[in-house]
Amino acid sequence: MKFFHLIWSNLQRKRARTSLTLLSVVVAFMLFGLLSAIQEALVGGVALAGADRLIVREKVSIINLLPASYEARMERIPGVDFATHQTWFGGIYQDPKNFFMQNPVEPEKFLKIHPEFILPPDQEKAWLATRTGAIVGRRTAERFGWKIGDKIPIRSTIWPLPDGSYTWTFDIVGIFDGKDKGTDTTPLFFRYDYFDEARDQGGENWGKGKVGWFTIRIKDPSQAAQVAKLVDQEFANSPAETKTEPEGAFIQGWASQIGNIVFIVAAILGAVFFTILLVTGNTMAQAVRERTGELGVLKAIGFTNAQVMVLVLAESCLLAIIGGVAGLGLARAITPVVAQKLAGLLPLFYLPTRALVVGLALSVVLGLITGIVPAVQAMRLRVADALRRM
């Protein structure tokens, strides 16, 4: 710590240059934070996916529906604990910009297979007793100011009602919370029995008895691959063949429709950090070149070669860490604001703690890499030669 003042003073030698370098490091780490949040929003669900859950969809495309009767057949397959289903409702609340997911589900089985959604028992009871009842995640409830007892009109883009209109009205009977920070609390879930009967009465019979996809809970997660194979074999050569995969792979597949998110993020960050490496490295090299004589003085008064090397390295690390902390701090401050704007589109947009830890580690690595060459040069400096350059 007693050397801190010396290191800090050296950073202030050329304030404009240090400030500009620092600014570029701050921007790089802010970008790192925001891209990490985007990556989390798109593929973060993979980590939170239930290891004991399989997703079964139509083999060709998830747009194609599957018979609801598959559920009973799936539950007879060895290794399957139970199965339930969901269907894409595609509704709009007031304005298309207010996007959030709404799906009809089987309430009891749905809550059993998704323990990450926390719903108070009395609200669960109310949901089971109310055919038009719906539960909504805390984030969406807060976003629109909904409370229990509210009637919410939602216009479906797919499913008409018996009177030919597309506006469905749901009674909010429960508001659920997420078990973890990464749990998506933006969707609204309503009862499948109400949904299935209503679309039937509408006269447009095309969806009757059909569902979007199934979620299966398996008895032993280590048997996931075998159970998935058995499920697909069960429906092979039928009019609606299936594709079964672990929930994590399913979510990954969704994200992959946009592209290889991890690769895209890594490529952008790679380019940014390579540039920063050059900028910061150049600053450090210049800073050391300019004070060759002073480094010679330090050695003359007794600083060892190793101590001089550590001083230069500490300086580059300090610069990178200050920039890293500031950039990550800014990203952390900005993400909730951006998340609010993207609530429907990217419900899990937040900066995860592990990204902060990785970012901090990255800043130290950046400092070490950019400082190592000038530090070694400073270490190798011969005192007599250096003193001549004062």
Partner: protein, 235 residues
């Protein structure tokens, strides 16, 4: 420091020292068979024309360079045989350097500059501060402790340089043209200060200079010419 019998009571004992620099295939003999003894408490001036090897000899005495041949013994320690790491530690304990161009850190205040050598000791912050105050008081700069070098005159900067050199109470002060960049008045003040350090505090001082006015303040003067030492200047 242990007194080595072979030094015959001299604090500095240079014996048969040669220094050869290699430039391409050419060997440049800067010092040839230099022998010198400096008793403790002496104020010795080392004079000679440019290129005579004064600074090279000073570097060898300060452990900043190694002789090609011969030995340099200071306070019983054979400096020429120490490793770079040991030399650095030895310099921190026993040598105080005063440079012609002061060589202060421009980003540090006077007191922070003086504190630098103390950062290598185990002293506490309070102890370091006390030592710094004492050193700055000795050079008459107690009122300029918070000033940066750019706000000090040349003479004042050299005083800070001297305070930095004496703050660890070194065995030997090596001064390389300490008045070379100063006007006569400021130079005299610095020489007064060095004389006081020698007479009142018993500091052994070796001062390189080419100024006879400065060397007149020393208790003895030796001359270097073309790498050879003499007690009289060459006519």
């Amino acid at each position: 420091m242990n007194e080595n019998p072979s030094t015959n009571g001299a604090l500095v004992h240079v014996e048969g020292v040669e220094k050869v620099f290699h430039r391409g295939s050419e060997d440049i003999h800067v010092l040839s068979n230099v022998n010198l003894k400096v008793p403790a408490g002496e104020f010795l001036a080392l004079m000679g024309p440019s290129g005579s090897g004064k600074s090279t000899l000073l570097n060898l005495l300060g452990g900043l360079d190694h002789p090609t041949r011969g030995t340099v013994t200071i306070g019983g320690e054979k400096v020429d045989s120490l490793s770079d790491r040991s030399l650095a530690a030895w310099r921190a304990r026993h040598i105080g350097f005063v440079f012609q161009l002061y060589n202060l850190m421009p980003m540090l205040t006077a007191e922070r500059n003086v504190e630098l050598p103390l950062l290598l000791t185990h002293l506490t912050r309070a102890e370091r501060r006390k030592h710094v105050e004492t050193a700055l008081a000795m050079v008459g700069l107690s009122h300029r402790t918070k000033h940066y070098p750019r706000t000090l005159s040349g003479g004042e900067q050299q005083r800070v340089g001297i305070a930095r050199a004496i703050v660890t109470d070194p065995t030997l002060l090596l001064c390389d043209e300490p008045t070379g960049d100063l006007d006569r008045k400021s130079g005299d003040e610095i020489l007064d200060l060095l004389q006081a350090l020698n007479r009142e505090h018993g500091k052994t001082i070796l001062m390189v200079t080419h100024d006879p006015h400065a060397s007149a303040r020393a208790s003895r003067t030796v001359y270097l010419n073309k790498g050879q030492l003499a007690s009289e200047p060459l006519k």
